[in-house]
Symmetry: C2
Subunit: 298 residues, 2 copies
């Protein structure tokens, strides 16, 4: 069988079944970050992302933005767990004919974002490769009481997103700011029941929350905030790389912050029982079941 046929998530599921971890691992693979026991009050968060030329960026993109994105996608994973990023390693696979100036511009974009979020770049690896590959791994920290996971959404919880969605491929995917500050501000104010970053598309990532929380959801077309660059609702529902946060709050917590009329995030729906699956209510009030889908590598 070829990878294309099994699919990205099928392959990940097979790997997960083959892995055993010891009790020092609080949450193994399957969330935005691995969660490791650290000290009495905190966990460490550990995550990595690989960017590949022709998949996640092209050589026509501004080099600084390519490097920036390579770190930003990892920071978005740390944000999804409401953590603070601390250290990063950067592995570069570089074609031999690459110019030093171009690779230095890529590094500059990455280092600038690291500086902005006080992330220490502590090392890396450089290898010859046939096309440009950048793999970044990030180590962060989160207080136990603030850790957010994909599991934990309950029937009746309100679903929120930060920012707006759709059309990211036309620019935002290279320029987005990981929602670290928003996530930290949020967990200081309210008790978040689940959180994920939208990397593969709203419905697919909401699908991960529903699966791991054993829940269903209803979302409202009217309430989904469209990015100015988005062409239609479909792009907001099924297109990847928004890198916004998707999270749920118990009703009492939701009220606490909705009365503050927050500008950074908006309610888009509600968690239901698992058997109801995921459905969308359109502008005319009609409800239809939708299948979570979005970007897949295979």
């Amino acid at each position: 069988m070829l990878i294309n046929k099994l699919g990205e998530f099928g392959l990940i599921e097979r790997f997960r079944r083959a892995i055993r971890t010891d009790t020092s691992v609080a949450v193994p693979s399957g969330d935005d970050c691995a969660v490791l026991r650290f000290n009495r009050d905190s966990y460490q968060l550990f995550t990595c992302d690989m960017l590949v030329e022709g998949v996640d960026f092209t050589l026509r993109d501004k080099p600084e933005l390519i490097g920036r994105k390579a770190l930003a996608v990892c920071l978005s994973d740390i944000a999804a767990c409401a953590g603070i990023p601390r250290y990063a390693l950067v592995s570069l696979g570089i074609p031999p004919g690459f110019s030093v100036e171009r690779i230095e511009r890529i590094a500059r974009g990455l280092f600038a974002l690291a500086g902005k979020f006080k992330v220490n770049i502590v090392g890396g690896d450089i290898s010859r490769a046939r096309h440009l590959v950048i793999d970044v791994s990030v180590l962060g920290v989160v207080e136990k009481k603030n850790l957010c996971l994909r599991s934990g959404a309950k029937e009746g919880d309100i679903i929120f997103v930060t920012g707006s969605l759709g059309g990211s491929i036309r620019g935002k995917h290279l320029k987005f700011t990981p929602r670290l500050k928003e996530a930290r501000a949020l967990v200081k104010k309210v008790k978040v029941s689940s959180m994920i970053d939208i990397s593969d598309g709203l419905t697919q990532d909401l699908g991960h929350i529903l699966e791991q929380s054993k829940a269903g959801a209803v979302i409202y077309e009217d309430l989904i905030p469209l990015e100015p660059g988005a062409r239609n609702l479909k792009e907001a529902l099924f297109m990847g790389e928004d890198f916004e946060l998707l999270f749920t709050l118990p009703p009492a917590e939701a009220k606490k912050i909705l009365i503050l009329k927050p500008r950074g995030f908006k309610p888009i729906g509600e968690i239901t029982a698992a058997k109801q699956g995921l459905s969308l209510i359109d502008r005319r009030g009609r409800q239809r079941v939708i299948k979570p889908r979005g970007f897949r590598h295979f």
Copy 2:
């Protein structure tokens, strides 16, 4: 300027100059692992390595051995700091036409080595790519008193290597056992003044110790243990991928263990003043200066 011209180490040096780290980083990039402050008695070690198809392995190699090597090279870095590996993340760039069976065999080889050394595989990333790329990052731990670095070798120290050297490309590079046990046994018995793993070749990696310790060295042709698969001394001096440990001991420490007639490692020379550079004494007692060199990606 193209990367080929600046070279791998020139590029790394440029990156290092551009990076700032805070005081929580005890040793930033430039050693086998980054060393992070952790608790009163221990440091965390953080390292990554990228393996690329056609550079570090070919698709004719046994898949289990490819996966095994991807983790083993990182564990060798942890061994060089005398640490204990704890957690690993695995990023895979996979061509779409790859078979599931082959990628599962690669994973199986990696997981088996992880099991052997009690390393928790806690997550990763999967991406489409044009050729197979495997990037592994490992988080480990080491007691402060046991940490070994490339710096710290002093004039008069004895230079040792574990195992034997040369000809690794003909098989050992896929099958070597990272010298984790040997490194731990060593630091429990003696005070090691410097250590590195031989990944690029004996003289190039000894060169790193000499540079960071501001020292010179003399090594003896007679004493260099040749791998059975090695064709000649040159392969032991300049060929990469031995993944043995190279370390130095102050004379009193060296005596302590040489009287035990250790089988796992052998003295090969002595640290001298920096101005003497690196030289080799051949079988007839003639001394000649040699330039550290070995495997370079560019």
